[in-house]
């Protein structure tokens, strides 16, 4: 990691943020098109060629809507709650590495905003801070559907945050670091078994953790089949029932950016992030690999949403505490044991 002037970091951060926002907009397009294909319909077709301008039209529409505030609402909290969700979602991408240090226009550029030594922990912490936006917004709306949605969200995030964190402990044990860049670099070293050279992606050495992480991540981002906080058939719209116009779209943006961040996070942790054939020679290829892996995760999200019914609240908690938590702990014990054996510290 090379030292670089602060203005260069700002430029990188600016580019990443904008790519993320555009990516989020087209994530909605992607979701609608994939869902449409799975459900035997067309999806957006009218706005621009193949409906490609639909996300922009949606954004303009949301900006033009009237900003309604319920009379009984706590106005200050009602104003700021959506921002918490949006900002926390955006901040967590800062520690995701999009590659190493590369030469652009003869200058060394780091393809990440910062290399925090506790990067993984940072994402988890910011992710759980985001739930404050949901709870506060739900409470400030003075609506009982919102309140129930907020309560569900609080319980859900607390439970699944634990699973999310514990499922990663195995990786931290193997890598010996919480920095996402170190985890990425560790996965780029091939495993040598005599003549065989295997990829060292953690999905191979930590399959159980991968499955646990995937389930917990879906719950963490409030997506189907764990979309209880906004279960539209029960709670109308859950925590954002009373939100409209751009305040609503902050929640919406936050949810989709969270999905993208979690997908980036998962690709970095388990699928070797930017690593792939040719990525060491050309950094652009590495970005493409990362994009591909992220899209696979996003497709998985959409696939789940079209296929599965929704869990009930008690079942959701039951799965977290009775099934996933013991499995996560088991995974830690096994990983730690193997690590000790391979270090020669036992036997």
């Amino acid at each position: 990691m090379a030292e670089q002037p602060i203005w260069l970091t700002f430029i990188v951060a600016f580019i990443i943020m904008n790519v993320l926002l555009v990516g989020m907009a087209y994530m909605t397009y992607f979701e609608r098109k994939v869902m449409a294909a799975m459900q035997d319909r067309m999806g957006p077709t009218r706005t621009g060629p193949k409906g490609l301008l639909q996300p922009i039209a949606d954004g303009i529409k949301l900006l033009g809507k009237e900003d309604l505030i319920p009379a009984a609402a706590d106005k200050v909290v009602f104003f700021f709650a959506p921002l918490i969700v949006f900002v926390t979602a955006l901040v967590s991408v800062a520690v995701i590495p999009f590659g190493g240090t590369v030469q652009i226009f003869g200058r060394d550029v780091n393809l990440f905003v910062t290399d925090l030594n506790v990067g993984a922990l940072f994402i988890l912490a910011i992710g759980s801070a985001g739930v404050y936006g949901i709870i506060l917004g739900a409470w400030a709306s003075a609506n009982r559907y919102s309140l129930l949605g907020g309560l569900r969200s609080a319980a859900q995030v607390v439970s699944y945050e634990i699973i999310l964190g514990l499922s990663l402990v195995g990786i931290f044990l193997i890598t010996g670091s919480l920095s996402l860049r170190d985890i990425l670099l560790a996965q780029q070293q091939p495993l040598e078994f005599g003549p065989l050279s295997l990829s060292n992606w953690y999905i191979l050495s930590q399959p159980l953790a991968f499955v646990l992480f995937l389930i917990a991540a879906v719950a963490e981002t409030n997506r189907a089949p764990f979309d209880l906080p906004e279960a539209e058939t029960e709670l109308v719209s859950g925590f954002h029932t009373e939100y409209s116009a751009f305040r609503f779209s902050f929640y919406f943006l936050g949810e989709y950016i969270n999905m993208i961040v979690v997908s980036l996070f998962a690709s970095t942790l388990f699928l070797g992030g930017t690593s792939g054939p040719g990525s060491e020679a050309y950094w652009g290829l590495g970005l493409l690999w990362l994009l591909l892996k992220t899209v696979i995760f996003l497709f998985f999200y959409v696939w789940l949403r079209t296929t599965l019914p929704r869990f009930r609240f008690d079942q959701l908690m039951g799965i977290a505490w009775k099934v996933l938590l013991p499995l996560a702990l088991l995974n830690i014990v096994i990983t730690a044991f193997i690590r000790l054996v391979s270090n020669g510290q036992v036997f």
């Binding site: 459900q39 189907a224 089949p225 058939t233 949403r305 599965l308 019914p309 079942q315």
Partner: protein, 431 residues
């Protein structure tokens, strides 16, 4: 309950005359506790008003829930938001004009409603439709049953969160609606049955169209079953939810899949056959535990059995060449053909259309197995051109009464599943 007793009146077996029996009851039902009252009594309950504008109350039903956290401690369904006075309207219209009103009671199974009404009028007048017309009525009725069950499956699955199911179900329902359209020109409000049979010819390519549906549908239904029947989340959401014991099912007067899901073998088509149902080979599926999953399985099987019936009926229809209308009766609309050529026929036709017909004095009750249960039409005739009293016993109105029984102690998310499993259409509940 405060009963005001007036010493000057005498008690009757039905209570005290003049007593305001429900004076301490709120207008909307039994459940009107404000939050302030709840706080006073130390209760930590939330009163949640679900509906009448809510995504999953299947129209304009309102449910007042008292929640302890997510647990439902009390549930009070409030109906009447779609009341259009169909029964009163029926008493102000001639017999022929009432048929369109029956379309609008249970609008997802309009042909079955037409059928129930027309059978009641035919019973009143002593008319019997020719055999071929009866077979066509069976075909349309059973297709309508499948169409209605498809709506139920789509919305029920959607309520529980299986998003795609509703779109798949509407795709198949579309084929049935196309068949209705080819048969009578309308898709939703079909108004397709007439006293005495069918006065319009059957379109030529209708039988292949129905056969095509029967060829496509079983595979599609297998797809639904793949998506739901063995899905652990679906099972977790439906098994053991909303259990109705056989005793409770009988005492609530349930009919249809809600009753058969609890294992009671009662199907009007078997118990008191109408039309030509005694000639078909079909089975009545029964549930075992009376939970939501059983009712799901029962309705899925009913769709298969309905297809079986249609297939058998089509074989008969193709081999038969009898008239479609019982023109010999006085209560049947005169043939349109003659009205265009001879003055007498034209006058007869004109008078019949303008004045209708006067059935004999009497009263009838005709029940049919509608997609949601026993649909009964009760007509009292005073010999005039309009019914003296017209009453519809809609199955979902009766079935809805079991909702508080099922919802007690359930979770909030279960309430929408329970509303779905009763299979209500508010047009039919409120009439």
């Amino acid at each position: 309950m405060a009963i005001t007793t007036d010493p000057t009146t005498t008690d009757t077996p039905f209570g005290t005359p003049g007593a305001i029996v429900r004076e301490d009851m709120p207008e909307t039902g039994t459940l009107e506790i404000t939050d302030e009252q709840a706080l006073d009594t130390g209760e930590r309950l939330i009163t949640l008003n679900m509906g009448p504008q809510h995504p999953s109350t299947h129209g304009v039903m309102r449910v007042i829930l008292k929640l302890d956290g997510e647990m439902v401690t009390d549930c009070d369904p409030v109906i009447g938001y779609l009341h259009r006075g169909t029964e009163k309207l029926g008493e102000a219209h001639r017999y022929v004009q009432v048929t369109p009103w029956t379309d609008r009671t249970d609008y997802v199974a309009a042909p079955l409603n037409n059928l129930g009404y027309i059978l009641a009028v035919e019973k009143l007048c002593g008319v019997e439709a020719p055999e071929r017309a009866q077979y066509w009525r069976v075909i349309m009725g059973e297709l309508s049953r499948v169409a209605s069950h498809l709506i139920w499956l789509g919305t029920h699955a959607l309520d529980i969160g299986a998003l795609s199911m509703s779109l798949y179900c509407f795709r198949e329902r579309e084929i049935i609606l196309d068949i209705f359209e080819a048969f009578c020109g309308a898709r939703l409000t079909t108004n397709m049955m007439e006293v005495g049979g069918f006065s319009r010819p059957i379109p030529e390519n209708l039988v292949p169209q129905i056969r095509n549906f029967l060829r496509i549908f079983p595979d599609r239904q297998r797809e639904y079953a793949d998506l739901l029947s063995s899905n652990p989340i679906w099972m977790a959401r439906t098994k053991g939810v909303g259990v109705i014991s056989p005793e409770a099912a009988v005492s609530y007067g349930l009919t249809g899949a809600c009753l058969r899901g609890s294992g009671i073998n009662y199907d009007v088509r078997k118990a008191s056959p109408y039309l030509v149902y005694d000639r078909f080979d079909f089975e009545v599926p029964l549930g075992q535990y009376g939970d939501t999953f059983d009712r799901y399985l029962v309705r899925m099987e009913e769709m298969r059995q309905a297809c079986r019936i249609v297939e058998q009926a089509l074989d008969y229809v193709e081999s038969m060449d009898s008239p479609l209308m019982a023109y010999e009766s006085n209560y049947v609309i005169p043939p349109h053909k003659g009205a265009m050529t001879t003055a007498e026929d034209m006058q007869r036709h004109f008078i019949w259309v303008i004045k209708g017909f006067n059935p004999p004095v009497g009263e009838v009750y005709q029940a049919i197995e509608q997609s949601k249960g026993e649909l009964g039409y009760y007509i009292v005739s005073d010999g005039g051109p309009m019914p003296y009293r017209f009453r519809i016993r809609t199955p979902d109105f009766v079935n809805l009464a079991v909702l508080p029984h099922m919802a007690h102690g359930a979770m909030l998310a279960d309430v929408v599943a329970l509303i779905g499993t009763i299979d209500i259409v508010l047009g039919s509940v409120d009439r």
